[in-house]
């Protein structure tokens, strides 16, 4: 079977994670998101709780230093552990769905990679966040902006490519236009066409 790695970047509240879950189910692939740290921790015989606090975080430049690609920042080191874990899986020819974690850039050399960025209209994202987190409209919007700001910082501090920039991904999709099911179907069609094209 050809290798298929589906990388899903997403704005907060855009249902990117749920789309990733559905794609994983449709293709029968393992899904890696925040659970990636559990896998990484297990491979090092350690408690993933210790790593969780640094997941998708950007470090404070005044508190940490890096030398020749090595860093004293736990956030950088947790990110590198995840990147190495993903690279190892990809190198072994495994197929999977990965949410975030700079995966579209880290795995860009693998032919089986399909990278997608999910955006959404602010009203739809606010409504979704209100529903999921029980927040007021204003709180939800602030929450979304704060989460996206953190994700952008995390991504852009580790990659030359820019988070959410359409040049970074194979495809950018507004999930508010087609809805959840429609978006998944559209992406599955795109992925199938891509897979036909790969050797």
């Amino acid at each position: 079977m050809k290798q298929l790695i589906i990388s899903i970047g997403r704005e907060f509240g855009s249902a990117g994670h749920e789309i990733a879950e559905r794609l994983a189910k449709r293709y029968g692939l393992p899904l890696y998101d925040h659970n990636l740290l559990d896998e990484v921790a297990a491979s090092h015989n350690m408690d993933s709780q210790e790593l969780q606090e640094y997941d998708e975080m950007k470090h404070n430049k005044f508190l940490y230093r890096s030398i020749n690609g090595m860093s004293s920042s736990p956030a950088d080191n947790v990110a590198n552990m995840q990147f190495n874990f993903l690279l190892d899986k990809a190198e072994k020819g495994q197929s999977f769905v990965i949410v975030g974690r700079c995966s579209e850039t880290i795995l860009k050399d693998y032919e089986g990679l399909v990278s997608v960025f999910i955006i959404g209209d602010m009203e739809s994202k606010v409504a979704r966040v209100q529903h999921l987190y029980g927040k007021s409209e204003k709180e939800a919007e602030r929450f979304i902006r704060e989460k996206d700001r953190k994700r952008k910082k995390y991504h852009d501090s580790r990659c030359k490519s820019k988070w959410s920039d359409s040049h970074t991904y194979d495809l950018s999709l507004n999930s508010s236009k087609l809805g959840l099911e429609g978006s998944v179907d559209f992406l599955a069609d795109y992925i199938d066409r891509r897979m036909k094209g790969t050797k």
Binding site: L51, I67, N68, M70, S72, N77, V78, N80
Partner: protein, 451 residues
């Protein structure tokens, strides 16, 4: 006045940009160096001679750059090419050694000699870290030592963090013992015309006393954490040190070149060979004996660090030529009221505290003209201030995770195996050790050099 203000602004901007890592540090220092040459020396001072002096290219064509007769002379300021050429030579030698499996073999051999017992490994690795760092850069020492420590910790089932922390401390301490151990020492030694034996008999002696103290300190602090959870294994199951050797010929040659480098450095005040001459010699021998791998070794030289030094020396030259550093020396002289004890205390503690948070290389390079001026105006023996500066800058970096390169490398190596070392974990044991060593150093300088 404008030139002075601009020199300070460029210097501070360089520091901030290095800390924030917006650009790579060699880009920062080279950019600031260009500004210094064009804006300060060119536009403000209209002084082509300041540019020529600071670039200091003529030094390559002087006999003193390669060989000195009798008492070594002080460097003329500007870019300290002697330091840069020596560090480049050492980089090539160390690359050759690493390629042959030298460091891994040495670590594994020692672990085997102490029969893979944790506390003896802990103590011997501290001493090994100290001794290697006397001659080799601390980044390389920790890169290999910490990796082997992690490997042994997985084999013997112990927490590698205490061992890695104590190795980091001892690498930084070992660096203070010799002229070539830590970049600040090379800069101090070449700038002030000191020899390898000057360092060994002064900072070296202090460092050895401190080593005894820190081995005891780390043993007391970490002994409870260094217990093994492993079932005793058959010694035959442990890795064979000889497996680390990638090429037997290369390994033997590495040993010979390393020992030659040590002998040349130890005897350089007798032979008259300068450290730059020794650097060029060992680099050439390494490249000639590497055969087809020579190009590979050259490619692996850390040119970015060498360029960082070039830019740095120009920026510090800007401070020096505009008289800022003389003003700073005057300020220290006034604050201390001409009291040598207070001056030493200021230099060693300010250097240590500054080095705990910022790169100690720019700091040392900046402080050399300051202690030079201080010694001249206050009529003090410069070497006493130099030892205080060397110990402060070399040791201060151990106190925090960002203080020295070895710290970052050790922390990153531990993290690869899933052991995160946070600021609190790091400083809890390392900051007291730093204070202890700085105190011992200060007392030893007082007792030995003050009437």
């Amino acid at each position: 006045m404008i030139a002075q203000i601009l020199a300070v602004i460029i210097f501070l901007a360089m520091f901030i940009l290095i800390i924030t890592e917006v650009w790579e540090r060699h880009i920062v220092t080279l950019g600031c160096a260009l500004l210094t040459l064009v804006v300060i020396f060119g536009i403000c001072m209209h002084s082509p001679s300041a540019i020529i002096d600071t670039l200091n290219l003529k030094t390559f064509f002087t006999e003193a750059f390669w060989h000195t007769t009798g008492q070594a002379s002080e460097s003329s300021g500007g870019i300290n090419w002697e330091t840069i050429v020596f560090i480049a030579g050492m980089m090539i030698m160390v690359e050759g050694m690493a390629k042959s499996g030298f460091f891994r073999w040495l670590c594994m051999k020692i672990a085997k000699m102490v029969k893979y017992q944790i506390i003896p490994i802990f103590i011997t690795f501290m001493v090994l870290s100290f001794v290697l760092a006397m001659f080799i850069d601390s980044i390389t020492v920790i890169l290999f030592l910490a990796a082997v420590t992690v490997e042994l910790s997985q084999l013997l089932k112990f927490n590698p963090v205490p061992m890695i922390l104590s190795e980091i401390f001892c690498a930084n301490l070992g660096g203070s013992a010799t002229m070539c151990g830590d970049p600040p020492n090379i800069i101090i030694g070449t700038s002030l015309g000191m020899s390898f034996s000057d360092f060994v008999t002064n900072t070296g002696l202090i460092a050895i006393v401190c080593l005894v103290a820190v081995v005891i300190y780390f043993y007391l602090v970490f002994r409870k954490e260094l217990t093994s959870n492993a079932v005793t294994k058959n010694p035959a199951d442990y890795p064979d040190p000889s497996e680390a050797i990638t090429s037997k010929g290369g390994f033997v040659i590495s040993w010979i070149i390393f020992l030659c480098a040590v002998v040349l450095l130890v005897t350089h005040s007798q032979t008259g060979l300068t450290v730059s001459c020794i650097g060029v010699f060992i680099a050439l021998v390494t490249l000639l004996t590497a055969g087809r791998d020579a190009l590979d070794l050259l490619k692996k030289v850390d040119y970015k660090t060498l360029l960082f030094f070039v830019g740095l020396f120009v920026v510090v030259g800007g401070l020096e030529k505009t008289g800022i550093l003389t003003l700073l020396a005057g300020f220290i002289g006034t604050v201390s009221g001409g009291n040598l004890k207070v001056m030493i205390a200021i230099i060693i503690w300010v250097s240590a505290i500054a080095s705990a948070f910022i790169d100690n290389i720019p700091f040392a390079a900046t402080m050399i003209p300051v202690i030079n001026s201080l010694a001249a105006t206050q009529g003090i023996e410069i070497s006493i201030l130099a030892w205080a500066l060397a110990m402060g800058t070399d040791i201060g970096g151990s106190a925090t995770p960002i203080g020295a390169s070895a710290n970052v490398v050790g922390i990153a190596t531990a993290a690869k195996s899933g052991h995160m070392i946070k600021w609190g974990r790091y400083c809890k044991s390392m900051a007291p050790a730093t204070i202890l060593v700085i105190l011992i150093s200060m007392v030893m300088i007082y007792v030995r050099y003050l009437p």
